[in-house]
Amino acid sequence: MRKFSGSYVPEYAPHFSEQLAGLSPDFVDSIEQKIDALTINPYHNTRFMKGQHKGKRKARLNDSDRLAFVICEECRKLGHDRRYNRCSDCDKTPENTLVIGYIIFGHDYKRGFR
């Protein structure tokens, strides 16, 4: 099992894995490094998302790309588990889990904004 630099353990949406498949190895490495940094302190330099994406946080990957994720301990503490995220296996998920959901590509919300 991989050793992370911090005490949080990431788990991933299958769709996230599909997104990685189309990316360059360098970018995938930088995403893995970012996730490793999040395992140390997922609150550092990350912000809550707004509107219909409430309950998720976003972390900066580079100038335009962002990573959307949830910190399970925070989600429960703020009641986001009941109001927004509603994971069916919440009761079996440890507090220190980071749920990594989606890469928000800059070209999707900038250039792809038809």
């Binding site: 991933y12 707004k50 219909q52 994971c87 069916s88 959901g101 989606y102 999707d108 792809g112």
Partner: protein, 209 residues
């Protein structure tokens, strides 16, 4: 010239705001596209007269008699991705969440919002047919709008440099709002977090090897 990302984001936010204003202030459950086209047209016309840059739609003369293809596209995108209910436009949970989270922008742009509010409040309850009839009679150069050939440009966005005041939105809020209003992001986020909701998860080793 095509609208910039900033202009598109502001246009969509203000369009959602008008639908919400019709519901909260005038108790209108839903609003037809013809009426919404008129409310946006009148709002943008008044804003432009005051040299306020809020809406950025281009309107032409058509049968009803003012029409913006860009507004139609925006409304189609918003309804396709369930940010707004249609075909008679009605706010939904997502609309309310977006408007609530970005309400600070409306406070920050009070001058622009006051103009939109006054135009919407004056015209929202006017029956659509009457509103169309009144719009046809608006004076336009030597005649009225109804005399113009279909396709004649009526209204276009004012340039930033000529505006006395523009809708203020900082970089962070613009990014957040673009993410909320982007169909592709909404679709992807929904798919990914729906998988998670159903308990489908992968480990680090399964993803990164």
């Amino acid at each position: 010239m095509a609208r910039t990302l900033r202009e598109k984001v502001i246009d969509r936010l203000l369009s959602l705001y008008i639908v919400n204003r019709c519901k909260t202030k005038h108790n209108m459950d839903c609003i037809s596209e013809t009426k919404l086209q008129k409310l946006v047209f009148y709002s943008e016309r008044k804003l432009n007269r005051n040299k306020y840059k809020g809406f950025n739609y281009r309107f032409i003369k058509l049968l009803f008699p003012t029409y913006s293809e860009e507004l139609r596209t925006d409304l189609a995108v918003l309804t396709d991705h369930e940010i707004l209910d249609g075909p008679y436009f009605k706010e939904n949970k997502k609309t309310k969440m977006i408007l609530k989270d970005f309400s600070e922008l409306f406070d920050r742009n009070r001058e622009i919002m006051d103009v939109i509010d006054s135009e919407v409040d004056k015209k929202a309850l006017v029956p659509t047919q009457k509103l169309v009839k009144n719009t046809k009679r608006i004076r336009w150069r030597n005649g009225v709008i109804n005399d113009l050939k279909n396709g004649t440009p009526l209204l276009y966005p004012i340039e930033e440099a000529r505006a006395n005041c523009s809708f203020q939105i900082d970089k962070e809020a613009l990014e957040d709002l673009a993410i909320c209003l982007s169909p592709k992001v909404s679709e992807g986020m929904e798919k990914a977090f729906d998988e998670l909701r159903r308990g489908r998860r992968l480990t680090h080793a399964e993803v990164f090897g």
